[in-house]
Each structure stands twice: as structure tokens, then as C-alpha cells.
């Protein structure tokens, strides 16, 4: 059973509000939540530990392979995801980009027959290790999908949804969380007068920003985005890109994109993936985005980013 029961929920701190749930489990490291980190940095001088943390990536896959049944869709990927940076994953269709990004919060567990080999470290802890609370991993590593998928509930209830999973909290505090999340996802001004209206009435771009608000309301540490703009028009796309620059102040972001310009514009580091002869996807190059797009080491990367391929 890949999904842990709710009884495994523990006391967690969302936005400084401590919500206690019975059950046993591992307490998430409070210092890793973005707000807590902010506070820690503004109050305390940099320590040796922090210096080390700056070097250690927020997430890191180690020789990660992912299989659908017997088919190996992703082979031996070692990819660091740095905190407060945007990591882009690019490559032709079917090379395993979605499979890879979905392994970072174990969404692949939902597909029957899918399994992983290797490790995915989150703050130095393997999220595929036994005894890991998958539900908590998914809260810490949030996800935004290709097509906006708001729930058919009000705008308010969409944003509050994830927070409410952790128990009842006072209305005023929930209101605060909803407002903060909507502000951070650059949607507040457009929806503040219609929070009770159905989220389905929003435009596609607004829905996608709502999904981002819904994801950040539970204070994740990493945000995964699988082609978040592919269903959006250029103006909405630009809004999301600006938003990503805002969000990277607080989060590690991983984005899969088909759009080379987008990868070049928004990301700090880029992973280039390619399908091998056996149809398994491998990462052929990983570097600073600027290098990937100006002087890549691999000829295939050069062909791909310059549009001579796929």
C-alpha cells in the first residue's frame, strides 16, 4: 500500500499555526519550511551548518531508474535540485520528463506497476526508503500539473483544502492563509471579491495560479511543475513565469517544459534528457542553464536547444 493512512499524521506547523494530529510519525524539520528558514536567516548569522546546507542540494536523485512494469522509462538519473533555484528539465517527448518529475514526490506510486530503483534524497533523507510517510512527502513536495485541475469548489475552499486536511483551525487564521497564498500566487487582486465563487469560472491562467496557491497553502518546500503553461495563452504564460521568479525566493522549483525559450528565461540550472536506444530516458547533460543554451558539451543538447531536433 503506497499511501500511508491519515493516522500517521503528526503535529506540523503551517504558517506558524501548530496543528496537532494523533498518530505517530516523523516530525518534519521545522527549519526547512520557507517561512521558518526566512526567520532563521534574518535572526541568526550564517553558521557552518548553513553554509553546508547551501552546498547540499534540496533534493537529489541518485542513480534513479523508474519502471512501468518491466519497461524502464527513466534510467540512472542523478539530478540535483538546488534550494531557491529553478531547475528545468527539457528533452523530446516521451523521454521520461514527466516520469522523472513525478518521482520527486512519489506520484508514480499511484500508477499500478510503477516502481523505482535508486534514491531520491530530500534534505538528505531518501523518500523511497521504507517507513517514509508518502502523504507527508507530497505535502512537502507540492505539484502543479499540465492542465489546471482546481476542485469544483469555491476559490476559497480550493486554497483552504490542503490546510483543512490537517484539522480544524480558526476561521481568521484560515482566512489569513488563503489570502497569503493567493497574494503569493499573484491572484489575490483578481479574486478577492469573489472568493466564494466557483473556481471553475476562472480563466485557464487564473485556474493554474489558483492551483499554485493551493499547493503553496500547505507550505511545501519544493514545487514541481510539469509543463504548467502548455495549456495557457502567452499572456497567462508570462504571468506564471513572473510568478515563478517570485516563488523561487522561498522554494526550490522544478519545471518540465517543452518550450526552450521558457527554460532559458526562467531556470537557473537545466537537465537535458534523451531517449536511449532501449527507449529508456537518460539525462545526457546537466549544467547551469546559461551553459546549456550557449556552449553545451553534448552535440545532441546543442541540436535540441537550437531547434534542430525533435
Amino acid at each position: 500500500m503506497p499511501i500511508a493512512s491519515s493516522s500517521a499524521r503528526v503535529a506540523i506547523s503551517l504558517h506558524g499555526v501548530t496543528i496537532v494530529q494523533q498518530g505517530k510519525g516523523v516530525l518534519p524539520d521545522m527549519n526547512t519550511s520557507p517561512l521558518a528558514r526566512e526567520n532563521a536567516q534574518s535572526h541568526a548569522p550564517a553558521t557552518a551548518g548553513e553554509a553546508a546546507a547551501a552546498v547540499m542540494p534540496k533534493m537529489q536523485t541518485e542513480s534513479l531508474s523508474i519502471y512501468y512494469g518491466n519497461f524502464r522509462a527513466v534510467a540512472d538519473v542523478t539530478l540535483p535540485v538546488r534550494d531557491r533555484k529553478i531547475t528545468a528539465i527539457i528533452g523530446p517527448s516521451g523521454c521520461g520528463k514527466s516520469t522523472l518529475i513525478r518521482s520527486l514526490n512519489r506520484m508514480n506510486d499511484l500508477i499500478a506497476g510503477a516502481h523505482a530503483g535508486g534514491k531520491v534524497m530530500l534534505d538528505g533523507e531518501d523518500i523511497y526508503a521504507s517507513g517514509i510517510d508518502v502523504v507527508d512527502i507530497r505535502r512537502r513536495v507540492g505539484m502543479v500539473f499540465q492542465r489546471p485541475n482546481p476542485f469544483p469548489k469555491s476559490i476559497y475552499d480550493n486554497v483552504a483544502f490542503g490546510v483543512r486536511l490537517y484539522g480544524r483551525i480558526p476561521k481568521a487564521e484560515l482566512d489569513d492563509i488563503v489570502e497569503t497564498s493567493l497574494r503569493r500566487s499573484a491572484l489575490w487582486d483578481e479574486v478577492k471579491d469573489k472568493l466564494k465563487q466557483s473556481a471553475m469560472a476562472l480563466s485557464g491562467g487564473q485556474q493554474q495560479r489558483l492551483c499554485i496557491a493551493r499547493a503553496i497553502a500547505v507550505e511545501p518546500e519544493v514545487i514541481l511543475m510539469d509543463e504548467p503553461c502548455s495549456a495557457l495563452d502567452p499572456v497567462a504564460t508570462l504571468k506564471i513565469e513572473e510568478l515563478m521568479q517570485e516563488l523561487k525566493q522561498d522554494y526550490a522549483i522544478v519545471i518540465v517544459t517543452h518550450n526552450m525559450q521558457q527554460a532559458a528565461r526562467v531556470s537557473d540550472t537545466t537537465a537535458m534528457m534523451m531517449m536511449r536506444a532501449d527507449r529508456a530516458g537518460e539525462m545526457i547533460e546537466f549544467d547551469e542553464t546559461q551553459i546549456i543554451f550557449t556552449k553545451p558539451r553534448d552535440k545532441r543538447t546543442e541540436d535540441y536547444v537550437s531547434g534542430r531536433f525533435g
Binding site: 499511501i3 500511508a4 493512512s5 491519515s6 514526490n105 506520484m107 499511484l110 499500478a112 502523504v135 507527508d136 507530497r138 505535502r139 507540492g142 505539484m143 500539473f145 492542465r147 485541475n149 482546481p150 476542485f151 469544483p152 469548489k153 483544502f161 490542503g162 486536511l165 466557483s198 471553475m200 469560472a201 492551483c211 493551493r214 499547493a215 500547505v218
Partner: protein, 330 residues
């Protein structure tokens, strides 16, 4: 400059396409006619029942519905026992079958391995194909003696007359098996496949992106089902329940075979009773006087009105749910 011919002259149009070139118009006419025909049928049945029941309607007026004595030989026609019987058995059937049916649907759509989904689903659907007289026979010889009787006796001892736990009038009186309880239970089995199969289809139609959204934010499977998948399919599940209710209200044969067919008013689920559909089927052949026939027809009229009203109410419910949670871009 290159002159190209218009596309339409280049491609030959097949005969069938030509016939339906203005396809929308004949299609619309067919649809409108079919709709009108259905509507006329419903209104026609209502009017027919209304006209043929003038004898009892004139003589008895509203007391036909409120009187509880049914004694055709003494020309006493009170339909209350049947109305109550129909309501009790139908509601009982829903109380049993809705949680069970939705539970089966959740299991089939969300929990069971994909390999088992099809065979189990077919089994549920087969249950819906069993003729009701067969359910009746099965009820008489198997279900009532082995399930309903022990259950009724248990309820009676625990909650009934001088009950061990508490005293509920709902479980009073002598109990011989044939009862509201037996009829309600049989009905539950009969509407179960309807509710389960339709609810399953509704749940399977909930987009995977909704589940991904739920899991992606840290829902457990339980939370994803209860807080995302079920609310998304709520209006469809309500529709399934309404279809089940419709079947329970009108079901005749199986109910007649296990309810005991006693025209009495009882507050106990353990006593025998009668339903509207059953009394019409059982006594139509013996209705010797115009008043008797008219009384039976008027019971039919009441059943008809009840069904129509319930359907309208249900539509309203579904509509209000949909309005609160629109699933499409508004």
C-alpha cells in the same frame, strides 16, 4: 496567379452526406417529435387515470388518502395503508442499499485491482438482470427464512417489546417473517445493482486530474475519495439513488411475495403490510364493482403522482448540487 476551384466542386459528396447535408433540421425535428411523444404519453396516462377514477374521487375526496380502512366488500376504501407501505419499504430499501451500493462503487472504481474490476462489475450488473419474480421466489424460500427471520427476531429481542436494549415501537409485535422488513430488504437487494453500477460509472468518469490534485497536495486515499472524488460525482450518485428509488416505488412482484399483503397500518417494521403496486396487482381481478375498480385505479393515480413528484424533487436536488459545484467552465 493560380486559380483553384472551390473545394466543394472538387470532392464528390456521397449520397448519404447529401441527404443529410441540411442534417441539423431533420435531426431537430426528430428530437422534438420524440420529446413531445414522451411528454404526451406521461400526460395521457395521468389524464386517463384521472378520468377513470371519478367515482371514488367524487364520493370520498381526500379521505381516500387519509382513511386507513380497506374493506372493499363493505365499500370502505382507505388507501393510507398502501401509501405508508410503499413509503416504508422504499425508504428502508434505500437506507440499506445506498451505503452498500456506493460502497461497492467506491471499491470497484477506486480500490480494487484493475484486473478484478471488469468481472466484479459484470456480476453486479447481472444482479440487475434477474427477473423480479425470481427474486420473490428466492425471497420466500431462501432470503426470508435465512436472513430476514433471524434479523427480525434479533431486532425484536433487542429493541422490541420488552426489548433487552431499548424499547422501540419500530420493532414491536409478532413476527412471522413476511413483513415490511422482508419487503424492504428484498427491494434493497433489487435496487443495489442499479445504484452500485451507475455510481461506479460516475466515479470512473471523475477525471484522473482530480485525484492527482488531491494526492499531490497530500491527501490519503481515504481523503481523496471522500473529499474530492465523491463530491465531484455527487450529482451523478444522486441520480443513481433516484433511479433506485423509482424502481423500489414501482416494484410489484417480489414485494407482493414477501410483504404478507395485509391492508393494515402498523408502525412496526416487523408486521406484515401491503404496498400500492401490490394491492393493484393482487386485487384487480376481483374488483367486481365500479367503485372497487375506481379505488384501485386511484391508488394507481396516487403512485403515479408520487413518482412524478419524487422525480421532480430529485431533479431539483441534482440541479442545485450542480449549480453549487459546476464542473464545467461556467
Amino acid at each position: 496567379m493560380v486559380v483553384t476551384k472551390p473545394l466543394s466542386t472538387k470532392l464528390p459528396t456521397p449520397l448519404v452526406r447529401r441527404m443529410f447535408q441540411h442534417g441539423d433540421v431533420p435531426f431537430k425535428i426528430i428530437i422534438v417529435l420524440a420529446t413531445l411523444f414522451t411528454l404526451a404519453l406521461v400526460v395521457g396516462v395521468g389524464v386517463m387515470l384521472w378520468l377513470f377514477t371519478s367515482v371514488t374521487r367524487m364520493d370520498l375526496g381526500f379521505s381516500f388518502v387519509t382513511s386507513k380502512t380497506w374493506n372493499p366488500t363493505g365499500s370502505q376504501f382507505g388507501a393510507l395503508p398502501f401509501v405508508v407501505g410503499t413509503l416504508i419499504t422504499s425508504i428502508l430499501a434505500l437506507i440499506i442499499s445506498v451505503p452498500l451500493g456506493v460502497g461497492i462503487a467506491i471499491f470497484l472504481a477506486e480500490l480494487c485491482p484493475a484486473r478484478l474490476r471488469a468481472p466484479l462489475g459484470v456480476m453486479v450488473e447481472l444482479l440487475a438482470a434477474v427477473p423480479s419474480v425470481v427474486f420473490g421466489l428466492w425471497g420466500i424460500f431462501v432470503f426470508v427464512p435465512t436472513v430476514v427471520k433471524p434479523l427480525g427476531n434479533f431486532l425484536k429481542n433487542a429493541f422490541g417489546t420488552s426489548g433487552d436494549v431499548i424499547d422501540l415501537p419500530l420493532f414491536h409485535g409478532p413476527f412471522y417473517g413476511f413483513s415490511y422488513l422482508a419487503a424492504g430488504a428484498i427491494l434493497a437487494v433489487m435496487v443495489l445493482p442499479t445504484i452500485a453500477a451507475i455510481s461506479r460509472d460516475v466515479l470512473l468518469a471523475v477525471p484522473g486530474s482530480q485525484r492527482e490534485g488531491a494526492f499531490g497536495i497530500g491527501c490519503t486515499r481515504w481523503e481523496a475519495i471522500w473529499q474530492v472524488v465523491l463530491p465531484y460525482g455527487l450529482s451523478g450518485i444522486l441520480g443513481a439513488v433516484i433511479l433506485g428509488l423509482g424502481r423500489a416505488l414501482g416494484e410489484t412482484m417480489a414485494v407482493t411475495m414477501v410483504i404478507g399483503n395485509v391492508a393494515q397500518l402498523s408502525g412496526s417494521l416487523l408486521s406484515p403490510g401491503y404496498t400500492m403496486a401490490s394491492v393493484i396487482a393482487n386485487e384487480w381481478g376481483e374488483s367486481s364493482t365500479p367503485a372497487y375498480a375506481s379505488a384501485l385505479l386511484e391508488i394507481g393515480l396516487l403512485l403515479f403522482i408520487m413518482s412524478v413528484l419524487l422525480n421532480l424533487l430529485a431533479r431539483l436536488l441534482v440541479w442545485s448540487v450542480q449549480r453549487r459545484n459546476p464542473q464545467q467552465h461556467a
